[in-house]
């Protein structure tokens, strides 16, 4: 039988489909979120844009002082992102809200790692440098990191930053959730400690989530009836409530499925018991044996080239 390109693909397709049917059904994907993690509620209606959280963060994490720490005005002209020198930044948004004198009202929004319940970065990390610990913090271990930066690509919030300026020992940098502080009884993250208006509320995720829903219920006109981070990408440790739609304060619209669910399901069903490579190489083996046989039957073509 002459093996054309077309018949080869047909053969491969049939083999693939039958192999999938035979393969043991991959067990259903399960969330690996810790049972009772901490959480932090950001109430955007309370944030006054003092940027003290940035200052506290840099002190606690021994980062360089934030850019113009006392500026509460022109610094907001540009939209900033967390980077390797600042784990959190506050941005100002004018969303069309007006006060009684028709003056536009600003909405301030703090950005930092959301510490997802099922983090895409942890799933993407090939060496286990990133892990979700029992406090809820997504913890980075610099000793394991190989600098592939898959976490940066995987993160739906585009948070992990890389020390590109450091050619010898670069690290991936992001908010740590101050895990060494919150591990202690009564410990709070740096930003939460300093917030003058309690725009940040720290506690068990369940507690702050209940609190968030309570605020939404008691002030239905004030808030958008959604807790951002409750369901986004399977839930995050940082939760936001706001009086303006979340996409207007640069919080992306995200699906409710955890990011690693699709990739891990795919990967685990393809590679369980290594059936797919075995099938592939089996098929290739058959193909090779056949083509060798075909060559043996027509020795006159040998060396013809």
């Amino acid at each position: 039988m002459k093996l054309t390109r077309r018949t080869f693909f047909k053969f491969m397709g049939v083999a693939g489909v039958s192999a999938t049917g035979l393969a043991p059904a991959a067990h259903a994907w399960e969330s690996k979120a810790p049972p009772d993690p901490y959480g932090c509620l950001v109430d955007l209606t309370r944030c006054v844009g003092c940027r003290k959280c940035e200052e506290a963060c840099s002190t606690v994490n021994k980062l360089p002082a934030p850019e113009r720490p006392n500026c509460q005005c022109t610094i907001f002209e540009k939209k900033r992102r967390p980077d390797d020198k600042a784990f959190t930044v506050v941005n100002r948004y004018f969303t069309g809200r007006l006060d009684e004198f028709d003056k536009p009202l600003p909405t301030f929004a703090k950005v930092q790692c959301m510490h997802c319940q099922d983090p895409a970065c942890v799933s993407a990390c090939i060496v286990g440098a990133l892990s979700k610990d029992e406090t809820g913090a997504v913890h980075y271990d610099v000793n394991k990191c190989i600098g592939c930066r898959y976490c940066m690509v995987a993160c739906p919030f585009e948070i992990p930053a890389y020390e590109y300026r450091d050619p010898i020992t670069p690290r991936v940098r992001k908010c740590t959730f101050c895990y060494d502080r919150i591990k202690k009884d009564g410990g709070l993250p740096g930003c939460v400690t300093i917030c003058p208006t309690e725009a940040l509320t720290f506690g068990r995720r369940e507690t702050v989530l209940t609190l968030a829903h309570k605020r939404l219920k008691e002030n239905p006109g004030k808030y958008i009836q959604q807790v951002y981070g409750e369901k986004e990408v399977g839930g995050t440790s940082w939760l936001y409530i706001s009086s303006v739609p979340f996409d207007q304060v640069n919080l992306p619209v995200l699906p409710e499925t955890p990011s690693p669910k699709l990739s891990e399901t795919l990967q685990h069903s393809l590679f369980s018991y290594l059936w797919s490579p075995i099938a592939l190489f089996g098929v290739l083996g058959v193909f090779m044996a056949k083509s060798n046989k075909a060559k043996d039957n027509h020795p006159q073509h040998k060396g013809g080239a």
Partner: protein, 238 residues
């Protein structure tokens, strides 16, 4: 640099001579400080009368500015400084705010559920430490102050809404900052001051205190002079 050093040495001697052994203390200020330190038992349950009712109830009970005993408070409760302490306490003019708003319910929004308790309790009775797991909805004292003041100032369009409108920044403890050898000489002391206070020193060099000449708006006959002083036109009258 030498000019700066001489100036600072003179300035330090001058300041030292100004400090008498026992400093006079303002009695009202001392009283306010004492009051700020007081800790009161936590009010667990409160009564929400709804804002309009609350206003009417307070009026019916005849509570008004005449019940305000203290002219001002220092908002300096230890709870506020428990975790972070960056600013000097705010001096809250209680009587003035009462006179301006003429409505106690603006701040005294709820009352304790216990009927025997005072009608208008202090903020720190209900608002104490932040993130109390038993009362997650109750905001801490510092947040309560900030929210109450800033939101009202914003709504009313008057009163400060920035940090330094109400606070002075804490003067850092110089015992830890100043690093001097034992029995330092005056030049070392001055150099140590200048290590951080270079801007102040440069600023001083442009004033009449250093130049011995400058504008003299309060000197009769020389009101319009801009270069008057011992450095130019005046005699040394020491």
């Amino acid at each position: 640099m030498i000019r700066k050093i001489i100036f600072f040495a003179g300035f330090l001697i001058f300041m030292a001579s100004l400090c008498p052994a026992d400093v006079w203390k303002a009695p009202d200020q001392e009283k306010a400080k004492e009051r700020a330190k007081e800790e009161v038992p936590f009010v667990k349950e409160y009564k929400d009368e709804f804002l309009i009712n609350r206003k009417v109830n307070l009026m019916e009970k005849g509570i008004s500015i005449k019940d305000v005993k203290d002219i001002y408070f220092l908002l300096d409760n230890p709870i506020v400084k428990k975790r972070e302490d960056h600013y000097e306490p705010v001096r809250f003019a209680h009587k003035r705010h009462a006179a301006l708003t003429k409505d106690c319910s603006v701040c005294h929004h709820f009352r304790p559920k216990d009927e025997n308790a005072l009608e208008t309790t202090r903020c720190s009775a209900c608002h104490q430490d932040s993130f109390n797991p038993d009362h997650p909805e109750r905001i801490g004292l510092k947040a309560a102050y900030h929210k109450q003041c800033m939101e009202c100032h914003q709504e009313q369009g008057k009163g400060p809404t920035d940090c330094k409108g109400c606070h002075l920044e804490n003067v850092p403890n110089h015992k830890e900052l100043v690093k001097l050898p034992d029995k330092a000489d005056p030049f070392q002391v001055t150099a140590e001051c200048l290590r951080c206070h270079d801007v102040q020193a440069t600023d001083m060099l442009t004033t009449a205190h250093w130049l011995w000449k400058g504008p003299s708006p309060y000197t009769t006959g020389h009101r319009k002079d801009i270069m008057h002083g011992k450095g130019t036109t005046a005699l040394n009258n020491f």
